[in-house]
């Protein structure tokens, strides 16, 4: 106990160096823990981009392009599938629900997804989170849109405002559908998934804006149909990009995948999103490892700072050590004193790091979700984080043994007080 008391009072007497050392360890710990949260959050955001959807079915092609296109809205499908096929999928006895999506247009760089109202009741993102509306709701009117939280925040859009779609998916488009604006009727809550960066319009809307187009080209001005006329019409959907499917029994997933992959009327690809996303993330695992590596090096730098601090203080404290030995403190006590000091420094630093992590996560989480679409959980500390915390403590104490050993040796070789 006296050892810890002495170590504590000694550190307090060198409060500036002690504070800087503790701060350095705290920041290293915070970085390590936040990187771990980002890693877990990135994985969760990626793998959880879609949840409770058992199959994604699209026209024949690679499963990866289908996944990237339908879930992450990256790229465009090479070909579409027939809407009639969707109806068959929907009518299948094993299908619980089926939601069609159509991709193709965009708005200021954000992808526009044509879908049915069922999308909002069945599609789930991270951790089986159902889509909920922060403001407004979905409408059954043709020229209406629901926008993701990120779109609303970045573009400062509100319910009741209008947006015009652009043909194609680039930020710069050669054709804008400005004559057919969409009324924003709802803004979704953040999900930490691509939904936040998407605009959802009715399937009819995707057909309506291209109703007077011929062979992929816009009509001449005099042939164009006004938005008012289009709004009153009903539209037949011919093609869609993909279908999200939920099955009634999880045991049927593989059967259904085989069934639709070998569908005779139309060549299709069916992927199980959970498995495919996991595989894809594993393939990108080097990024995760790189993150970890950077964080570990940061911690090493922090601990080295502590080592340097304790080591440097030794020179100033030879007299103190000598006094203690003159009073009967054995070399083991001197060793223990410096080890206790290292333990207090690293323990204090790591604990402060835990606290800082908590504060950072609490304060920055909403901004990170909005800006980066990355959902960092605010759960209590995970077992991995507690393992990191323990490893930092153990490493710090082990590193502290280096100056402690030097002090132990010094006190033996130098003797005491004669040259004080």
């Amino acid at each position: 106990m006296i050892i810890f008391k002495l170590a504590m009072k000694s550190m307090v007497s060198r409060r500036l160096v002690t504070t800087l050392t503790v701060l350095s360890i705290a920041l290293s710990t915070t970085l390590l823990l936040i990187v771990e949260r980002v890693r877990v959050g990135a994985r969760a955001s990626f793998v959880g981009a879609i949840s409770q959807t058992d199959l994604i079915i699209g026209s024949r092609g690679g499963s990866l392009p289908l996944l990237l296109n339908s879930v992450f809205h990256i790229g465009s499908p090479a070909t579409n599938m027939k809407y009639s096929t969707f109806k068959q999928i929907q009518a299948d006895s094993k299908t619980a629900w089926a939601v069609p999506i159509v991709m193709g247009d965009s708005h200021r760089g954000y992808r526009v997804v044509g879908t049915s109202q069922d999308f909002f009741s069945h599609f789930q993102a991270r951790r089986s989170q159902k889509l909920t509306f922060a403001l407004g709701n979905v409408s059954d009117q043709t020229f209406t849109a629901v926008i993701g939280s990120n779109v609303a925040a970045r573009l400062k859009y509100k319910v009741g405002g209008f947006l015009a779609l652009s043909h194609g998916i680039g930020e710069v488009s050669f054709h804008s559908h400005e004559d057919r604006p969409f009324l924003i009727t709802g803004i979704l809550e953040p999900t930490g998934s691509p939904v936040d960066r998407s605009i959802y319009i009715p399937l009819a809307g995707t057909e309506a804006i291209h109703a007077d187009w011929h062979d992929g080209a816009p009509p001449r001005r005099e042939d164009a149909i006004s938005a008012q006329d289009l709004a009153g019409r009903t539209f037949e959907v011919d093609e869609i990009s993909a279908v999200f499917v939920g099955v009634k029994s999880k045991g049927d997933i593989l059967n259904l995948q085989r069934q639709w992959s070998s569908f005779r009327d139309e060549p299709l690809t069916a992927v199980i999103p959970g498995v495919a996303l996991d595989e894809l993330w594993e393939g990108l695992g080097y990024g995760e490892e790189a993150l970890r590596l950077v964080a570990v090096f940061v911690v090493l730098v922090g601990l080295t700072g502590m080592l340097v601090s304790v080591y440097n203080s030794l020179s100033e404290r030879r007299r103190e050590m000598a006094i203690l030995r003159s009073l009967g403190a054995t070399p083991s006590v001197i060793f223990g004193l410096l080890l206790a000091e290292a333990a207090l420094l690293v323990g204090g630093g790591a604990a402060f790091g835990l606290l800082l992590t908590r504060v950072f996560l609490t304060v920055l989480q909403p901004m990170i979700v909005n800006q980066f679409g990355l959902y960092l959980t605010l759960d209590s500390f995970t077992s991995v984080e507690l393992i990191y915390f323990s490893l930092i403590l153990v490493s710090g104490v082990l590193l502290g043994a280096v100056p402690a050993w030097r002090a132990y040796r010094n006190s033996l070789s130098d003797g005491l007080v004669i040259r004080l």
Binding site: I2, S326, L327, G328, P331, G415, L420
Partner: protein, 237 residues
């Protein structure tokens, strides 16, 4: 520990920091228990070295150095540390107080690093014992002050209190009065001896100021280079 043996018994001590010359060459030196011994000599004559050897701080280099019958030469460094903590109170020339501890913590420190010192207090707590000894040295009002707030004279008394707490059998004082003027020197030595009397401690006091010798029962001279004969001559008195 042998209760009949002298406080200090040195036989054939030859000590050197280098191979060229011995700084101390003492055929025999005996200091009985309870004696008040004054060791004097000019700077560099080996006074502090002799104290360092008696206190087990310096290795006796194979010579026989018995403190209360225990041979320091046969002890390992760690054992010497424990023995010193238990049996010897040391007042340093520069006091060597720990600056980040307050007066009370400095005084009680030996009891926390040496269980034997603590045990000798019996049921009295180190804090209470420190208070009592501080009262005797007239520093009881300074117990909660930091060392940097004290005058030299006050620091000296704190160093003495630390050395005396737990009643060590041998009290070694290495020129503790060098920073004081004449009146304060006499006053301090009288105080030290009276407190040491209560615990029946042997006192070994070093100074180059021969005028202080009147406070002590015996004096040993260590004049510079001609150590051997003078030590022998003085010891044989």
């Amino acid at each position: 520990m042998d209760r009949e043996s002298p406080a200090v018994l040195i036989n054939a001590l030859r000590f050197s920091y280098s191979k060229e010359r011995a700084i101390l060459d003492i055929p025999k030196l005996t200091i009985e228990r309870g004696e008040r011994v004054f060791v004097h000599g000019p700077s560099g004559c080996g006074k502090t070295t002799l104290l360092g050897i008696i206190a087990g701080i310096l290795d006796p280099q194979g010579s026989q150095v018995l403190i209360h019958g225990s041979d320091l030469a046969k002890m390992r460094p760690r054992q010497r540390d424990v023995f010193r903590g238990s049996q010897i109170g040391y007042i340093f020339q520069m006091f060597n107080l720990i600056p980040y501890l307050n007066v009370l913590d400095n005084i009680t420190l030996p009891c926390f690093v040496s269980p034997a010192r603590r045990d000798r207090l019996g049921s009295t707590s180190p804090i209470k014992a420190a208070g009592e000894i501080a009262s005797k040295l007239d520093i009881q009002h300074l117990l909660n002050k930091m060392i940097s707030e004290l005058s030299v004279g006050e620091q000296q008394r704190v160093a003495a209190a630390r050395a005396l707490l737990g009643a060590p059998a041998l009290l070694i004082a290495d020129e503790p009065t060098s920073a004081l003027d004449g009146n304060h020197r006499d006053e301090f030595i009288s105080l030290l001896n009276s407190v040491a009397d209560e615990s029946q401690a042997t006192v070994l006091f070093v100074s180059h100021d021969l005028s202080l010798s009147r406070h002590f029962g015996r004096q040993i001279s260590l004049p510079g280079l001609n150590v051997v004969n003078m030590i022998s001559a003085e010891v044989s008195l």
